[in-house]
C-alpha cells in the first residue's frame, strides 16, 4: 500500500512539475495559430533539407520550452505545413538548445566546460541529422498519428478551398477549432467587452480570434494533458517497482555505463531545465562520457514525453526516432569518451 502511495506521490510530482511547461507550450502553440501566417512561415524556412533541419534545431532558442512544452509547438508547426524534417529537428533540439537549459548546464558543470559545449554540439548534430533523415519524407501525413493526419487533411483541403473562395466549403471549415483563423468572412461578434482587460497581444485580435485561441488552448491542454497523465503514470510505476540501483549496477566499463545512464535518463523523465543538477549527483561515480549521454538522451526521449509524442506521430515513427537518437547518442558519447 505504501508503495502505491509512493507511486501516486511520484506521479503527482511529475505532473505538477510538467503542467506549467505544458501550459507554456500550449500557449505558444495557440499564439502561433493566431499570429503566424503559415504561408510566410514556410517561405522563411530554407528548402535545403540540411539548412532546414538546422534552422528547426535552433528555433528552440526562440521558445524556451522543455520536453513537455515543445510537443504542442512542434505539432502546431506540422499543422502549419512546416516540413516534417524541420519539425522533428525542432522537437529533438528545443529541449536542449535553449538559453535556460544551456545556462543551467553551465551552472552545474561550469568546472567541466567540455560537458556544456559537447552537450550543445552533440544535441544540435543529432537533431539536425534526424531532421535531414525525415526531410526525405515530404508528405507529413504518412508520419502523423492517424487522427492528427485527418486533421491535417482537413486543414490542407480547407486552405485550398479557402483560396478558391468556395462558399460551399465553409460549414466544413467550422468543424475544426483551428479553422476559424482564416475565415474573415465569418460573422463577427460585436462584443468587445474583454479587449480592455486583455493583454496587448490579445487586444489586437478580435474577440472571435480570442475565442478560437482559448478553445485551442483548452483543446490542446485536454489532449496533451491526457497523454501526460498516462506517460507520467507509467514513469512513476517504473520508478517505484524497478529499483534505480539495478540500472546503476549495470555499469562496469565505458560502454555499459553509457548505456546505464541512457536507461536512467529514459526512466527518470526529468525536465531538461534541471537535469544537469541531477546528473551532477552521479559525477563522482560516472565518467563524463556517460554523464554526457544522460544529458543528450534525457531531453529528447523519456517515458513521460513518449506519451506526448504518441499524440503526434505513428508508433512506428516514434520507434524510429527513439532508435536513431539512442544510436547517435551512444556513438557520439562513446567517441567522446575514447578521446577524452
Amino acid at each position: 500500500m505504501s508503495q502505491l502511495h509512493n507511486a501516486f506521490t511520484l506521479f503527482l510530482s511529475l505532473l505538477v512539475e510538467a503542467m506549467p511547461f505544458l501550459l507554456m507550450g500550449v500557449l505558444v502553440s495557440s499564439s502561433l495559430l493566431l499570429l503566424v501566417d503559415e504561408r510566410k512561415l514556410i517561405t522563411k524556412i530554407p528548402s535545403n533539407p540540411f539548412l532546414g533541419a538546422l534552422v528547426g534545431s535552433c528555433v528552440g532558442f526562440l521558445f524556451p520550452v522543455c520536453e513537455c512544452g515543445n510537443v504542442p509547438v512542434a505539432r502546431r508547426l506540422l499543422l502549419k505545413g512546416v516540413s516534417p524534417g524541420v519539425a522533428i529537428a525542432f522537437l529533438l533540439a528545443a529541449p536542449t538548445i535553449n538559453p535556460v537549459v544551456i545556462w543551467s548546464t553551465w551552472v552545474a558543470f561550469g568546472d567541466q566546460p567540455r560537458i556544456v559545449i559537447f552537450r550543445v554540439i552533440f544535441s544540435l548534430a543529432i537533431a539536425t541529422i534526424i531532421g535531414c533523415i525525415f526531410s526525405v519524407q515530404k508528405n507529413a501525413k504518412t508520419l502523423l498519428q492517424p487522427n492528427l493526419a485527418r486533421r491535417f487533411n482537413v486543414l490542407v483541403n480547407g486552405r485550398s478551398r479557402e483560396f478558391n473562395k468556395n462558399q460551399e466549403s465553409q460549414p466544413l471549415l467550422l468543424q475544426s477549432g483551428t479553422f476559424l483563423l482564416g475565415t474573415s468572412g465569418q460573422p463577427q461578434k460585436m462584443e468587445a467587452l474583454l479587449t480592455e482587460t486583455l493583454s496587448p497581444v490579445v487586444a489586437l485580435a478580435n474577440s472571435s480570434k480570442f475565442q478560437s485561441f482559448l478553445d485551442n488552448v483548452v483543446l490542446e491542454l485536454r489532449e496533451l494533458g491526457g497523454m501526460l497523465v498516462i506517460g507520467s503514470a507509467i514513469a512513476a510505476i517504473i520508478q517505484v517497482f524497478i529499483p534505480r540501483e539495478i540500472v546503476l549496477n549495470l555499469s562496469h566499463d565505458t560502454i555499459s555505463s553509457i548505456i546505464a545512464m541512457m536507461l536512467l535518463a529514459a526512466i527518470v523523465s526529468i525536465c531538461s531545465t534541471v537535469d544537469s543538477f541531477f546528473a551532477l549527483s552521479f559525477a563522482a561515480t560516472f565518467n563524463s562520457g556517460s554523464l554526457l549521454a544522460f544529458l543528450i538522451f534525457g531531453p529528447t526521449i523519456d517515458i513521460k514525453a513518449i506519451g506526448l509524442m504518441a499524440s503526434v506521430f505513428k508508433p512506428k515513427i516514434i520507434i524510429y526516432i527513439f532508435v536513431i537518437v539512442a544510436q547517435l547518442t551512444f556513438l557520439s558519447t562513446f567517441i567522446y569518451s575514447y578521446f577524452s
Partner: protein
C-alpha cells in the same frame, strides 16, 4: 413574399447552429471548465498547504502558482465569453480530436480529484533503498568549497556534514566534534546490527529525482528498536569507525555516536534542496 425561405447563406446556417446549441446545454464546454477549475484548485491547494514541498523543488513554487491562477482565469474568461455571446461556437472540432475527448476529460478530472483528496506522502526508506544511498555529494562550481568551514560543527545539518566530508574525506579530521543532526531512520542491510543510517532526501527538481544521503549512527544496543522512517534529532559526537560497504569490504567512515536521541514529528519541509 415574407414566407419565402431565406437563401442558404453562411449567416443563415450559423443561425441554425446557434439554435441547435441553445436547445441543449453544452455539456462538453462546461465539463472542460470543470477540468480546468479542478486542476487550478489542485495546484493552488499544493501552494497554499505547502504540500508542493513534497513534490517539487521550491524554485518552482511561483511557476505552480501562476499556472494554477492561469487555469482558473482561462475557465472564467471562457465562461464570460460563453454567457455573453450568443454565437459561441465552442469546441466544434470534437470529431477530430486525437484522443476521445470524454476519455481525456475523465482522466484529467479523476487525477485532479484524487490529488485533492489524497495528500502526497513523504518519500520513505523503501524508496531510499531502491535509489541507493550516496555518500558523494558533488558541489556545483558556483558553491565555494570553503563554505563549510564557516559553520560550527554542532550547527551543521546532514547535508553540510556530507558536503564537508566530500570536500575533505578523512574521517579522523572530524573525530570528537559535536553534532546535532535531524533525519529519518534507514536500515541498510550491509550495516552491522547496532547501526542505522540517519538519512534525508535531496531534491533537484521534483520528488522523482530525489536521492538520499546519510550518516551512520552507532548505537550500544540493537538498532531495530528504531523503526524505519521515524524522524530523529540526534545529539552526539563524531567518531571514526570501520564499516562494511556494499562490496563487503571494511571502510573507515565517520559515524555519529549519540548522547541523546529524540523522536520528532516529520518536518513539513523534509527534503534538502540541491542548492541549499
Amino acid at each position: 413574399m415574407l414566407n419565402k425561405p431565406l437563401p442558404t447563406t453562411k449567416k443563415n446556417r450559423t443561425l441554425h447552429i446557434i439554435k441547435g446549441k441553445r436547445k441543449k446545454p453544452n455539456w462538453s464546454f462546461w465539463l472542460d471548465n470543470v477540468v480546468l477549475i479542478s486542476w487550478g484548485c489542485l495546484l493552488l491547494k499544493y501552494a497554499v498547504t505547502g504540500e508542493y514541498k513534497l513534490l517539487i523543488h521550491p524554485n518552482y513554487f511561483w511557476l505552480v502558482v501562476i499556472t494554477g491562477i492561469f487555469l482558473l482565469l482561462i475557465s472564467i474568461v471562457r465562461s464570460i465569453l460563453f454567457v455573453r455571446s450568443s454565437n459561441y461556437a465552442s469546441d466544434s472540432s470534437q470529431h477530430l480530436t486525437l484522443f476521445p475527448a470524454k476519455f481525456s476529460r475523465t482522466l484529467l478530472l479523476g487525477v485532479a480529484l484524487a490529488g485533492l483528496i489524497i495528500s502526497p506522502n513523504v518519500l520513505t526508506s523503501k524508496i531510499a533503498l531502491q535509489r541507493g544511498v550516496t555518500e558523494n555529494l558533488p558541489l556545483t562550481h558556483s558553491q565555494p568549497e570553503s563554505f563549510v568551514a564557516t559553520i560550527k560543527p554542532e550547527e551543521r545539518s546532514l547535508i553540510d556534514w556530507v558536503r564537508t566530508l566530500n570536500a575533505y574525506p578523512e574521517p579522523d579530521a572530524y573525530q570528537g566534534q559535536p553534532a546535532k543532526i535531524i533525519g529519518f531512520v534507514l536500515h541498510l542491510p550491509e550495516l552491522p546490527e547496532n547501526y542505522f543510517l540517519l538519512s534525508r532526501f535531496i531534491v533537484t527538481c521534483c520528488a522523482v529525482d530525489a536521492y538520499p544521503i546519510g550518516i551512520p549512527v552507532q548505537l550500544e544496543g540493537n538498532s531495530s528498536i528504531y523503526p524505519s522512517d521515524i524522524w530523529l534529532e540526534i545529539t552526539g559526537t563524531m567518531a571514526t569507525v570501520n564499516l562494511p560497504s556494499k562490496d563487503h569490504q571494511n571502510q573507515r567512515k565517520l559515524a555519529l555516536v549519540p548522547t541523546e536521541i529524540k523522536q520528532i514529528p516529520t518536518p513539513k519541509d523534509p527534503y534538502f534542496k540541491s542548492d541549499q
